[in-house]
């Protein structure tokens, strides 16, 4: 089971990620079915990974074809005139746009957008909370799932642990190694509760990761009990 979630490894050494998002997550993101927290992690990986970006574009094109394939539903008889009447109205305020902290010219921030837009400060200035020796965390306020930045001291080894639900981890700075492999900037690991692992941070610099818990939905309500007998395999 555990191996099913192992991200495919390819390339590396050229500053590009070698552990990628799988098609299932990219498809959910393209279709608009991921929570804001999972979307944040995926979009931040996409900022660092041209390969997954190309696949995500392909899946948006699939969405375009899906839209095109739908049988039309008649709109209200006055819909067109209502819309035309609004075209010249002054621009309504668009949904909040993230304002990333200002950067020095030429300085490449370690945290890419859109993640940087969710933080009030550069990593060093965040209110990190100590967890265990060598590990600190900073919790982000994002809808949909528990979302944290983790900061691990160089060379620190984390105790063996499993995960509640599925945990998506994106490395942003430094690196770590575990039973699956080596994870550096931009790499994604998808770990579920069948996994236990024991990451060790690489030498030289702190390892900073974004983690999101994507707890799979369990069918426990009326609907679930009703449906489940029909889907026994």
């Amino acid at each position: 089971m555990a191996t099913a979630h192992k991200a495919a490894a390819s390339r590396g050494g050229d500053g590009l990620p070698s552990h990628h998002l799988d098609d299932a997550f990219l498809l959910d993101y393209a279709a608009g079915n991921t929570s804001e927290a999972v979307s944040l992690l995926i979009a931040t990986h996409l900022a660092l990974c041209p390969e997954c970006r190309a696949r995500a574009e392909e899946l948006e094109a699939l969405g375009g074809a899906m839209l095109e394939s739908l049988a039309p539903t008649a709109v209200d008889h006055d819909a067109l005139s209502a819309v035309l009447a609004r075209l010249d109205a002054s621009e309504e305020v668009e949904p909040p746009v993230f304002t990333p902290p200002a950067n020095d010219e030429g300085h490449i921030p370690s945290l890419p957008m859109p993640l940087r837009g969710y933080l009030k400060a550069e990593p060093d200035a965040l209110a990190w909370q100590p967890v265990i020796r060598g590990l600190e965390e900073y919790e982000l306020d994002v809808g949909g799932a528990k979302t944290k930045l983790l900061r691990i001291k160089p060379g620190a080894s984390m105790p063996q642990h499993t995960h509640e639900g599925r945990e998506l981890t994106l490395v942003l700075e430094g690196s770590y190694d575990d039973e699956i492999g080596h994870f550096g900037r931009g790499d994604v690991a998808i770990l579920d509760d069948d996994h236990d692992h024991r990451p060790i941070a690489g030498p030289g610099q702190d390892c900073i990761c974004l983690t999101v818990i994507d707890a799979p939905l369990r069918l426990t309500g009326r609907f679930g009990r009703f449906l489940n007998p029909f889907v026994k395999f």
């Binding site: 979630h5 590009l16 799988d22 299932a24 699939l62 375009g64 394939s69 739908l70 921030p109 931009g186």
Partner: protein
């Protein structure tokens, strides 16, 4: 509900197995010239809208507004919410048309992203984080032999044809993601199948889709 559950099961190939990959449809016909011309025409219209052309907007509205409404209703909006959000989508199209780049995406794909995002905003009341190509931390496409590795955009007509040629179960599985608001974790929960199995079925469906599109090229 029962039918839904069985349909999900069928989509996953657990009721009867999906045909083997070698069982490709017979001679694959390429998209008709007419549907390609229509795709290109929609792209032209959207470019004209970016330039402030109202009659192009009216034509675009007539094509897309009824489809966007269907899309929103498939995803659970009632008639009046679909109407209201659909109108929002069309107003946004007018305002954002200048961000459309026909080399990168077709008009249908661009419309899909506007409708998808508007729905997340209006129905789920969530933001949809997206990458920013102007961010200094953004990692551009690697240069291959001096050329940027530019990927040709997927023509909507080609993708529509390819979906139609997918084995029924695979097409159903993909439609669940786009039309039924079902992320793969929910598909797994509803069918009782391990996540890994759902993931591999999705991967197979997409691999098949890419293969069909290659044959059309």
């Amino acid at each position: 509900m029962v039918a839904d559950g069985l349909a999900v099961a069928a989509a996953l190939g657990v009721v009867h197995n999906a045909p083997p990959a070698s069982n490709t449809p017979m001679a694959s016909s390429s998209p008709t010239a007419a549907s390609r011309r229509r795709s290109a025409h929609l792209d032209d219209l959207l470019v004209a809208v970016a330039g402030g052309d109202r009659s192009a907007f009216v034509e675009l509205f007539e094509h897309f507004a009824p489809r966007v409404k269907s899309y929103l209703m498939r995803l659970g909006c009632d008639m009046s919410a679909a109407e209201e959000i659909g109108q929002e989508v069309m107003v946004t199209v007018w305002r954002r048309a200048e961000t459309f780049d026909r080399r990168q995406a077709s008009a249908s794909t661009w419309m899909f992203t506007i409708a998808r995002n508007k729905r997340i905003d209006a129905v789920r009341r969530e933001r949809r984080p997206e990458f920013d190509p102007t961010d200094p931390a953004f990692m551009p496409e690697p240069e291959i032999g001096g050329d940027m590795a530019v990927q040709a955009k997927q023509e909507t007509a080609t993708v529509v044809e390819a979906i139609a040629e997918l084995p029924e179960e695979q097409g159903f599985l993909l439609r669940m993601a786009y039309y039924d608001d079902k992320p793969h974790s929910v598909i797994a929960a509803e069918t009782g199948l391990p996540l890994g199995t759902v993931k591999s079925r999705l991967r197979l469906a997409l691999t098949k889709l890419r293969k069909i599109m290659k044959e059309h090229e």
